[in-house]
């Protein structure tokens, strides 16, 4: 018997792997991919709870989250291209102009 808890644990694990990668990796592109993992983990939890309660609001939320993710990736990748053109690196440790 698969309960809602199973899916919530799966979503939490996906989110946690995203957090882990976000803290451990240095490449900006991979950091964006880890954000995608986190969004998907939250989405799995949303859809699981949405089936549990029988209301469709959770699925609408996941749909909007997908739109936000697409927007974020479009702007983020163009910013990354710009940074790479000016600084010739994507290592977040080397992008320290704003650090004091």
């Amino acid at each position: 018997m698969v309960t809602t808890s199973h899916y919530l644990i799966l979503g939490s694990a996906l989110f946690g792997i995203g957090v882990l990668g976000f803290l451990m990796k240095r490449n900006v592109i991979v950091l964006l991919m880890c954000v995608e993992l986190m969004i998907n983990g939250a989405g799995v939890s949303f859809v699981a709870l949405c089936r549990q309660t029988g209301s469709l609001e959770g699925q609408v939320f996941v749909l909007f989250a997908m739109v936000i993710a697409a927007v974020e990736i479009a702007v983020g990748l163009s910013l990354i291209l710009l940074i790479f053109r000016n600084r010739a690196t994507l290592d977040v440790d080397k992008l320290e102009v704003l650090k004091w």
């Binding site: 018997m1 698969v2 809602t4 808890s5 199973h6 899916y7 799966l10 939490s12 694990a13 996906l14 989110f15 946690g16 792997i17 957090v19 882990l20 990668g21 803290l23 451990m24 990796k25 240095r26 490449n27 592109i29 991979v30 964006l32 991919m33 880890c34 995608e36 993992l37 998907n40 989405g43 799995v44 859809v47 699981a48 949405c50 089936r51 549990q52 309660t53 029988g54 209301s55 469709l56 699925q59 749909l63 997908m66 739109v67 936000i68 697409a70 927007v71 990736i73 479009a74 702007v75 990748l77 910013l79 990354i80 291209l81 710009l82 790479f84 000016n86 690196t89 994507l90 290592d91």
Partner: protein, 163 residues
């Protein structure tokens, strides 16, 4: 049967997600990300969200991953510097924080008090029912989302032109 299917899809999802953050090359990470996104679409299909499963395949595994691939192809990043994980004190600290976070999340979602499971109608999560709620109750957020997409496209074009 349902349990076996769940464990198969969970194993694929988790292992490909771990592979995303363990790969040394960006392109391999992107390929692992495709597997993760498709298996999340499978989970949506299991959870009576057929419309979301289709959108996940089209929007995520289609559009967003193609954007990633384009970015990596335009950078030719692989030749310039290999990828490293964090090491040393900061790396250990990050690992510790993330593992604590995972542990806490899993603990709280395993023991939460839930409302009892609702009985679902036959067309729960179909394109008709989701569209009905999307175009009545959530009409204003939908229009705002479309404006947001437009602004993002214009902004991305502007950034890449100015560089």
């Amino acid at each position: 049967m349902e349990l076996i299917q769940f464990y198969i899809v969970a194993a694929i999802t988790i292992s490909s997600a771990v592979s995303v953050i363990m790969q040394g090359r960006v392109m391999y990470s992107i390929l692992s990300l495709i597997v993760t996104l498709l298996s999340v679409a499978w989970i949506y299909a299991i959870l009576n969200a057929s419309f979301l499963a289709v959108v996940q395949v089209i929007l995520y595994a289609g559009a967003i991953v193609v954007l990633f691939v384009f970015a990596v192809m335009m950078l030719r990043y692989e030749e310039i510097e290999p990828q490293r994980m964090r090491t040393g004190l900061i790396g250990c600290l990050g690992l510790l924080v993330a593992l604590f976070f995972i542990f806490e999340l899993i603990l709280s979602s395993a023991t939460g008090p839930f409302v009892e499971e609702a009985t679902l109608s036959a067309d729960f999560g179909s394109i008709k029912s989701v569209g009905a709620i999307l175009y009545t109750q959530y009409l204003v957020p939908l229009e705002l989302a479309s404006i947001l997409l437009l602004v993002a496209v214009v902004g991305a074009a502007l950034f890449s032109k100015r560089g």
